[in-house]
Structures are given as structure tokens and as C-alpha cells.
Amino acid sequence: MVDEDPTAAGVLLTMRGIVKQFPGARALDGVDLEIRAGEVHCLLGQNGAGKSTLIKVLAGAHQPDEGEILLDGAPVRIGGPVQALRLGVATMYQELDVVDGLSVAENVFLGHELASGGFSQRRAATARTRSLLARLGHADLSPHREVGRLSAAGKQVVSMARALSHDARVIVMDEPSAVLDAEEVANLFRVVRDLTAQGVAVVYISHRLEEIRQIGDRITVLKDGRTVASGLPVATTSTDELIRLMTGRSVEYAIPRRPPVADDAATVLHVEGLALRGAFEGVSFDVRAGEVVGLAGLVGSGRSEILETVFGARRASAGTVSVDGTELRAGSVGAAVRAGIGLCPEERKSQGLLLDEPVYRNITLSTFARTATAGFLDEPAERRVADEQVQALDVRPADPGRAARTLSGGNQQKVLLARWLVHGCRVLLLDEPTRGVDVGARAEIYALVARLAASGVAVVVVSSEIEEVLGLADRVLVVSEGRVVHEGPASQIDEHRVLDLVMEGSAA
């Protein structure tokens, strides 16, 4: 299915029939990829489609079992990360691979330190780092700054500067926008365009189709370790077509409509004058039974902190949280959980799951004591309860005994939702519920949120994707610089207005 375009003179790198076998799983099963100089080539596919494995092959972290890689038409062997960099292939991983304790310049030249006779040439490194940062539009970033003190966006700039320091001809970016807010994404795109104008090819991986529309030139779609379409021009390929290729079925990439909340619905969650020193202040809002309230704002605006403080995971410096009229003890997750609040945290793996424990124990993590008798666990009951949820939420693979680590992002999110469904919560707080979740599972999560609301649960959603917040929520709170700058029905506001409000808020 590789397009044999005879005019493809600018072909820089070709991968043909790449196969990678892991014990028990064939991660790549014949992948073809063709990258031209100066293009942004988007790699699409659901979680588990083989994207990560493919870029690890490109980066030299994995050796393919079959297939060939051609650079400038000549076959090459990428034996390791060092060799990949020498060939001009640099990779920016999703988990930013920077060393927190080192400075910006030290990180940029990590592994290829500028040195003469064993002594590092710090001045030269600083100067070159400064020019690389300037090229990336971040001349304000000091090369001496400790990387651990930078934001995720800052770390990404460092990672990109490192890629450039290798004179890379192909830069692979694995979900670079996942940790960025709208403004930072715009800056990232500017840098990407700048790079491609200089003839660098960018392999861009993202779950956000809108982004691919904005930045991409051509698309290769992976499914189950195979290339199902390659070299599709972004401009002329419809979203429906892409979703169909990725999922192998047609999914409506839409958020289900819900009837308006009943006028007489009781207030479940009442937040009054909540503040957390250094993060946000004066936050008050109510959520009624069956209502979905969205918190929109940029990364760092305080939206995640608001959720965590409502949940008691952080101790509020002022204000109160009440559920059904009963005020909760401040800073106590236990009290919040007992009152029926559940939180699906932003970082699923580090904050939500016991990765090496089976799915069913993850689902019953907040309820195992309830099914226990005199402290003795009732594992069959736990398995039964978990199995029902696995069936109901269509967790795949449908095996509650499997380690949570082996599930894709979307299915891990379902496991977390299942945990609170089993708990039977009154208030559900969702922080970035669809980050790193593929399109198919996204639709399922939207439907689930709608169903929960319909059953009378009060839901609060935080998301970087403004469209998602607006689509899911009945009412939206726009948060900027730790303050709520707007509150109103989601139907009466659009993405641009939200961004305007955010900008005004941060200007004030």
C-alpha cells in the first residue's frame, strides 16, 4: 500500500516491512513508512497500534526482527541510540528524557559533551545552547537554569534543543503537545514549521486530530502493528476516513447530547471560597445532581489543584467543601471518599493505578474493605464486581486478572472510572479524562460520563481541550491565574471566547 510516487524525489528515510516480535506479542507486523525531507509526517493509530515500538526502532532502542531501513536510498542499520543520532535521527520521547539535576546546557549536550582533553568546554556549550534556544524562540531561557525547575513545556524545549544539537535530519516527536497548553502548542508549531523550512523532516505523533490538521503534511496510519494507509495527504483526507482506518470501524467522534439538568435537581457539591496558597483563591461553585461542570483554563492556571483540593488531596488554606450539605474535613481524602467523592487523577499511572496488580484489584482499590468480613477479603466477590464493570465498560482485553500495566491508556482510564462506579460515588472529579486516550475509547468515555450524569452523579471535568470541556459540560468555569474569571452555561460560550477570557485574566 506504499504509494509508489515516482515524483517523490525528496524521500529521506524509508522503512519497509518492519517486524518486531516481543515475547508473547508481535508489536510490529510489517510496517512501511516513507518520510520526505521538509515534511511533517504524522503517525496515527490507537494505543497499542505499534507507534511507540516503531519510533523506538527508528531511535535504535529496539532492533527490528525483519525489514529494512533506507536513508537517502541506502540501507542502514540503526544499532543503537548513538548510531541513530549519528545518522541524523533524533527522538523526543513522551516521557521527557531530561536529567532534572543538570542545567539546560548540560542536558542539551548530554552524551556528546563538548570537551577537549577530558575537560568540558562549558563556555562553548553555553554559547551553542543559547543559539539553539534562540532558534527555538526561547532566547529567554537561561542555559544555566536547573532543568528540574522548568515546567513541562520548558523541559520539552530543552529536549528539542538537544535534538537540534545533533544536527538531526529527522526529528521524531512523540505526543509533544500532551503536556502543553494552547499557547505553548502554537509556539511548538512555529518551531516545527521553521525546522521543516530548513529541510528537516518531523515525524509527529498525536492523538489530537485537530493538531494534525494544523501542522501535518502527510499521514501514516498504523493498526495492530501494520501500516493500513501511508502517505495520505492531510488536506484531502477526511476525519471520518482517518477514524475508520484507525479503528477499523466508524465511530462518531462526538460527545453525546444530554437533556438539560432538571430545575429541581438538588445541589450535591458545594464549594465555598476555596483557596490554596500559591495556586488559587476565592473559588466557589455548586454542582447539582446530574450536572456536569467544566473547568477550562491553561496548564498551570490552577484547575488541577482545584480538583485535588476539593478531593482533600491538598489541604485548603481557606474555604469549605460540602457534599449534600455536610461540610468535609479539610485535607482528608478519606473524608471525601466516605462522602462519596471520587477523583480520576491527571497522571493515571503515577497517581491512579497499581500497575503490577491485576485489573480487578485496581477496580476494588477503594472498596475491598467493604466486601471484606472482619478484615478478611472476599476475593471472589471482588472479582465478580470487577468483572461486571469490565463487561459494562468494555475494558479490553476483558480479563480482570491481567496486570494494569498491560492495558492501553483508554482502558486504564476505564479501570479508574470503574473504581468509582463500584464505590457508587455522588461526585466524580475527572482530571484530563481523555489524555493519551485514543479516539475510539474517547467516545466511550464521553458516553460514560453522560450516562453517569444521567444517573444523578455530579461531575466536574478538567481538560486542556477546550472543545472537550464545552462539549461535555452544562456549565463552564473559566480559570485563569488561580481565579475563576467566568461562569456560565457551556452552550453560550465558544472556544475563542474562553481563550479571550483566559488571556484577559492573565493580563489583569
Binding site: F22, L354, D356, L365, S366, L377
Partner: protein
């Protein structure tokens, strides 16, 4: 059959082959990489050690009295290791159990305690030792869970100061136990097996049940595996952490009672370096030092391996120094093996 159907079938056949393939490697992984597989490895190591024992010491090694000696040798450290398994599974470490054992043995055998025991019942001595153990464990737990002191440092401080306190109380003297009821009970044989071995067995079984079958055990695994996830699921991580150190202290108290029974004397040097033997047994047994996975069966096997090793060396008149070297090699080999297993089970994801 339409073309569509044919196309649909090909990947289906492929899929089933893949699933089968996965099932096969999964089954293989089940035997070699699961908890049973790890324990099987330990059993094999133990059997090999015994074979060496039989080959070099013959009847001296196989005799009932020698086997009971091995078990008696294993009992005290075995009890400490059960507590240590909980602490390590819960993501912590306790360097103080050996010293706390010493302190508890001294406190339970002072003239005052023994006089009181003679006036009332020898159980007073047991209660005293357990109380001292739990109290010291609680101090560790409060410092670590609520004072946010790193476990290594907090228990290191306890290790040093508990030993010091024991020396002060005992005035560096050996305190001979003269409460006959106490000695009669703990030096007795039941069904031909020494009381100390019975205690170890009971503690081990109780430990297995608690770790695998109770909410306490589940919380331990959750707290050790991912404390943040446990906290956000509504588990009181700090309180549970405190309980874990109290539990380790309790096993130190039990160990002190056993020690008093075995040596008939309380001494501030009792239990010296036992914490290291306990940690070694736990780690060799397959409990993850980083927390989140623990195995009581593995710990028991680890303890037995070390005490059998000691016995085989003693039977062959080899020096304690040579024993130490062999122990070190076993620890490193076990940890290397563990890491390889962990890597392999993650490679597939």
C-alpha cells in the same frame, strides 16, 4: 462467500494463532516467572544445599536433631523476617528490629520484671517484651509516617539508640532468667518439635494469611506499590505505614521472648545484626525491595536457605568468615535473578 467475508477471516485466523502463541508463552511465563516459579527456584536452591550437606556431612546432617537445630536456628530471624516482609512490601525498611529485640529482651528480664513475673505469672515477661517492641515500632512509624523522616534514617536512629538504652538498662550485664515457668514453656518440645519452631510456624502462617487474605495485607501491597494511588483511592497511607512499623516492632518483641527462652538470658547484645539477616532473607525470598510485592513463603524459604547454609558450613568446620562470603554471593545472585525476571515481564508491554 463474499470478498468481505474472506478478508474478515484471514485476520481472525491470524488473531487466534497469536492468542494461542500468547497463551503458550503466558503459560511458560506462569511457571517460570510467577510466584510459584520463584518459590520453586528457592526450593531447588534449598534442596541443592541439603544435597551438599548430605554429601559432605552424611548422617550428621540428616539426623532429626540436626534438622531441628537448623529450624531452631531459623526461628528467631524467621519471626523478624515475617515482620520485615510487611515493612518492605509496604515500601519501607526497618533497620532497628535487631536492636529492638535486644532492648525488649533486656527489659523483659530485669530484676523488677522477673520479680513481678514470679509474683504473678510468667506471661508478664512476654507482655513486657511485646509492649517494648510495639512501642519502639510505633516511634519508628510515627517518625516515618507523620514526621516524614526517611525510613532508613529513622530506623537507623532507633537501631543505635535502642541498643544504647538496652546497655543502660542492663548495665552491660547478662541478666539470667530465673522464672521457671517461662523457661519450662519456651524450652519445651511439643510433639517432638521445639516450642521456638512452633512459634515461627504460627507467626509465618499468620503472616501469610494477613498478607494474602486480609484488608491489612491488601493495603500493604497498595501502599508499597503506589502510595499516591492508594492515598487517592481513600486509603489512609500514613496510618497504615505506622501500623507496619508497629508490626515489625511486635515481631521484634516476639523474637526477644524466643531469644530469652533459647539463651535463658537477657543481654544488650541479643539480636545484633539480625536486621541484616532478616532483610537478606526477605529479599532473597523474592519480595521487591521497592515495595508492592511480597511473599511470605519466599521469606520462609529464604530464612531456611540461610540457616541451612550456616549449618552445612558448621558441620564441615568451615569458618564464619567463609559463611559470610557465601551469604553475600547468594544475596547478589538472588537480586540479579529478580531483576532479570522483572525486566522480562515488562518487555512484553
Amino acid at each position: 462467500m463474499s470478498e468481505q467475508d474472506v478478508r474478515a477471516q484471514v485476520p481472525a485466523a491470524d488473531e487466534s494463532a497469536r492468542v494461542e502463541d500468547e497463551a503458550r508463552t503466558g503459560a511458560r511465563r506462569g511457571v517460570l516467572h510467577g510466584a510459584t516459579g520463584r518459590n520453586l527456584g528457592l526450593v531447588i536452591a534449598l534442596v541443592l544445599l541439603c544435597a551438599v550437606g548430605v554429601a559432605t556431612a552424611g548422617d550428621r546432617f540428616v539426623s532429626t536433631s540436626n534438622i531441628l537445630t537448623i529450624l531452631r536456628l531459623a526461628a528467631v530471624i524467621g519471626v523478624l523476617s515475617i515482620g520485615m516482609t510487611f515493612v518492605i512490601t509496604g515500601g519501607g525498611i526497618d533497620l532497628s528490629v535487631g536492636s529492638v529485640l535486644g532492648l525488649a529482651s533486656v527489659w523483659a528480664s530485669t530484676v523488677a520484671t522477673q520479680t513481678m513475673a514470679k509474683d504473678t505469672h510468667w506471661v508478664v515477661m512476654v507482655g513486657c517484651a511485646l509492649l517494648v517492641g510495639v512501642a519502639a515500632g510505633l516511634v519508628n512509624g510515627v517518625l516515618i509516617a507523620y514526621g516524614k523522616v526517611v525510613a532508613f534514617i529513622a530506623t537507623l536512629a532507633m537501631m543505635v539508640s535502642a541498643r544504647g538504652l538496652a546497655e543502660i538498662i542492663a548495665n552491660r550485664q547478662t541478666q539470667v532468667v530465673s522464672v521457671q515457668g517461662f523457661l519450662d514453656f519456651f524450652r519445651a518440645d511439643v510433639l517432638g518439635v521445639p516450642m521456638l519452631v512452633w512459634i515461627f510456624a504460627v507467626v509465618a502462617v499468620a503472616g501469610w494469611v494477613v498478607l494474602n487474605r486480609t484488608t491489612f495485607g491488601r493495603r500493604t501491597i497498595a501502599v508499597g506499590g503506589n502510595p499516591e494511588a492508594a492515598r487517592l483511592a481513600g486509603i489512609d497511607v500514613r496510618r497504615h505505614t505506622m501500623y507496619l512499623y508497629a508490626l515489625a516492632g511486635l515481631t521484634a518483641g516476639i523474637g526477644a521472648v524466643m531469644m530469652l527462652g533459647r539463651t535463658t538470658a537477657g543481654s544488650s547484645t541479643n539480636g545484633m545484626y539480625y536486621e541484616l539477616d532478616a532483610i537478606a532473607a526477605v529479599v532473597v525470598g523474592g519480595t521487591l525491595l521497592s515495595g508492592g510485592r511480597g511473599t511470605i513463603v519466599g521469606t520462609v524459604l529464604g530464612v531456611l536457605i540461610f540457616s541451612t547454609l550456616t549449618n552445612v558450613f558448621t558441620q564441615n568446620n568451615l569458618s564464619i568468615s567463609a559463611q559470610a562470603v557465601a551469604k553475600g554471593v547468594i544475596i547478589v545472585a538472588a537480586v540479579l535473578l529478580q531483576q532479570r525476571i522483572a525486566e522480562r515481564s515488562r518487555a512484553g508491554t
